[in-house]
Amino acid sequence: MTPSEGARAGTGRELEMLDSLLALGGLVLLRDSVEWEGRSLLKALVKKSALCGEQVHILGCEVSEEEFREGFDSDINNRLVYHDFFRDPLNWSKTEEAFPGGPLGALRAMCKRTDPVPVTIALDSLSWLLLRLPCTTLCQVLHAVSHQDSCPGDSSSVGKVSVLGLLHEELHGPGPVGALSSLAQTEVTLGGTMGQASAHILCRRPRQRPTDQTQWFSILPDFSLDLQEGPSVESQPYSDPHIPPVDPTTHLTFNLHLSKKEREARDSLILPFQFSSEKQQALLRPRPGQATSHIFYEPDAYDDLDQEDPDDDLDI
């Protein structure tokens, strides 16, 4: 059984994650950090797209070609088109390189291709490019490369383009990272706990709500993916026990609930400012016992006649 058949016969779940990352096309941003490195995931994606028959271009800037090709078998290695910018990044040896403009020239050349084969471009790494090129230029070129196939009219002529960019989050401020993630169709943030790596995948389809999911995985030595369940819940030290919602009305000193009779009485209550006809009649009728009630009041020493003026300052 050839390795390609073996890969295609892999578990459905394994294929799902890589497929979903590659299916949308456009810019796929892999954000990694020192603790959770992303190059192995990048290589897994490269291997997957090579096995699917796509044309794979690698722009190697950060590691040498031997190190990148390590772990791939010869079948895949033959399918990769590797552009090496690691050995001679400033082109001092002045040899006849295929892309004289450096990595930017290589990307721009890829904007202008016309064949219908789907292409995957792996940038190893996008951080290297971001540190050496102006961010706006890089964004413009990435957008041009990853959106060649978005015209509705001639979608059949140019194949789908996926650009996989490896971005080291700690090297950049929030500005460039925010700008790149607003351009990206899919964003994978690598993290994990206690030895298990997780990928938080955020898919931004145009004009639809972004969907996100977290997937626990590990990468096998031959760069195939092994999906796993998350770490067990009991091992987390700070899981709070399920507290039932407290009903605050249980221990009050006053009554909050109304019985049916009380509710009826409340509904039928006439409010003081509601002017009904009975009230009008009551006010118009002359009051019977007006002369009989008197109020006798003697103010004592502490009584405040003017409650608004406690110091008795006002000279009214």
């Binding site: 413009q140 607003s182 709500r209 909050l256 409650q307």
Partner: protein, 475 residues
């Protein structure tokens, strides 16, 4: 390759048709003087431009933004010659909708469009405009749609706070005579023949710019320079500023600029905090405002302000624009689980309304506006629990909790509610009047656990605050 994608014929000008119809008029009175022998086109004295109306407050000429609810919030519409800035939401889902409504309104009214984008081809943007709803059978669909979503709690009559029920409701369905604002069906596309019959100009940045231009410091980025030149050319050639005497009816130019300030325009304010071109965007807005004020045009700009690193630039941009509307969607934020917002997709903030030829602006006093995108319709409403939230600003928070309980003995109309309210408000007014007279609060003579006459500190240091509880926190 044609640099400017201009589309075919001008919309059939109805001006002259109307003039001829009115010539065969019912009255036999003839106007004496030089106007008696005048031709058809200059018959009516006041030329009114299709799709505009004067504001009822100050006579300013207004155009519709495409959403009648937003028009109502802005005081009738967007004034001709001004800029509407939309601060995009985080995942840029809802701001393109407002952008498209604006352009669709232009097509329906026969205005000229100018669409500028660095991300998408303007022709593609125009293909995705929503279809207008122009006849009455759609009104019935809308009414059903609206009533299906009414919750039963909204029908509780309020006995004490009955004035809250008199608050004006926002219009969400089509009105009968909508010559000014139209309604659109977001699930359908605008028919192709309407798009082709309209006059539009597109500016797609990757086609216009060559990549190896050197940028001088402190000047506009080349993308912005080209865009300004393009706009100026269109305004001059088509006579929107009155320079060429127009043979046809005067019209409005609607300009739409998408994602201004993003790195795709070559501007690095989203990437770096103190970039070299930090004044480029503000200069662009300044020049754009000058162009707009001298021509019959209105502009909508969407800007990803959540990406801008230097907050001072956002403040400058807000000052340089006229109307600023911010969209905040609930996706991914903790407000998504808040039951107060469960029916809505986001909040809409009206951050600024211009004072055009006025000393005061027409700001509505409603602060809690939320939007939701139903399948067909984009609606803007007040958040439903507005009543209780306003109540909480008067009462202490513990009390409004008691009010919210179903069948509570403290509900409206109960004796407990009324006496509590009266004593609470009496204490509040005494406290406030004491503050006014002596400018110092009441001396705390007790143990300190209960603050003496704790009134609602509503206007502490000039800003309205939440009412504190009755039990003060011990120091």
């Amino acid at each position: 390759m044609a640099a400017v994608a201009t589309c075919g014929s001008v919309a059939a000008s109805t001006g002259s048709a109307v003039a001829t119809a009115s010539k065969s008029n019912v009255t036999s009175f003839q106007r004496r003087g030089p106007r008696a022998s005048v031709t058809n086109d200059s018959g009516p004295r006041l030329v009114s431009i299709a799709g505009t109306r004067p504001s009822v407050r100050n006579g300013q000429l207004l155009v519709s933004t495409g959403l009648p609810a937003l028009d109502q919030l802005l005081g009738g519409g967007l004034a001709v010659g001004t800029v509407l800035l939309i601060e995009e939401d985080k995942y840029n889902i809802y701001s393109p909708l407002l952008f498209k409504y604006f352009l669709a309104e232009g097509i329906v009214n026969g205005h000229t469009l100018l669409v500028a984008s660095a991300k998408e081809d303007p022709a593609n943007i125009l293909q995705e405009l929503p279809a207008p709803l122009l006849d009455d059978k759609c009104k019935k669909e809308f009414d059903e749609d609206v009533y299906n979503h009414k919750t039963p709690e909204s029908n509780i009559k309020m006995k004490i706070a009955w004035r809250y029920q008199l608050l004006p409701k926002m219009e969400i369905g089509p009105v009968s005579s909508s010559r000014f604002g139209h309604y659109y069906d977001a699930s359908k596309r605008m028919p192709q023949e309407l798009i082709e019959a309209s006059n539009w100009h597109g500016f797609f940045l990757p086609e216009k710019i060559s990549s190896t231009l050197k940028v001088e410091p402190c000047s506009l980025t080349p993308g912005y320079t080209k865009l300004l030149q393009f706009i100026q050319n269109i305004i001059y050639e088509e006579g929107f500023d009155g320079s060429n005497p127009q043979k046809k009816q005067r019209n409005i130019l609607r300009i739409g600029i998408q994602n201004l300030g993003s790195p795709l325009w070559g501007d690095d304010i989203c990437c770096a905090e103190n970039g070299g071109n930090s004044h480029s965007l503000t200069k662009f807005l300044y020049v754009l405002r000058g162009l707009l004020r001298t021509s019959l045009s209105a502009c909508i700009i969407t800007m990803p302000t959540h990406l801008i690193q230097n907050k001072a630039i956002i403040a400058r941009v807000t000052t340089l624009s006229d109307v600023v509307v911010g969209l905040e969607s609930f996706i991914g934020s903790e407000r998504e689980t808040n039951p107060l917002y469960k029916d809505y997709h986001g909040l809409i903030h009206i951050r600024q309304i211009p004072r055009l030829n006025n000393l005061i602006c027409d700001e509505s006093d409603v602060k809690d506006l939320a939007f939701k995108l139903k399948r067909k319709l984009f609606t803007i409403e007040w958040v439903q629990d507005n009543y209780l939230r306003q109540e909480r600003n008067i009462y202490p928070p513990g009390f409004s909790y008691l009010l919210k309980q179903k069948d509570s003995a403290w509900g409206e109309g109960s004796l407990q509610h009324s006496t509590f309210l009266m004593s609470f408000l009496a204490k509040a007014t005494a406290f406030a009047s004491r503050l006014v007279r002596h400018s110092e609060p009441l001396k705390q003579n007790g143990s300190g656990r209960i603050r003496q006459a704790a009134g609602p500190r509503l206007w502490h240091d000039g800003r309205r605050q939440e009412a504190p509880g009755l039990l003060g926190i011990p120091p």
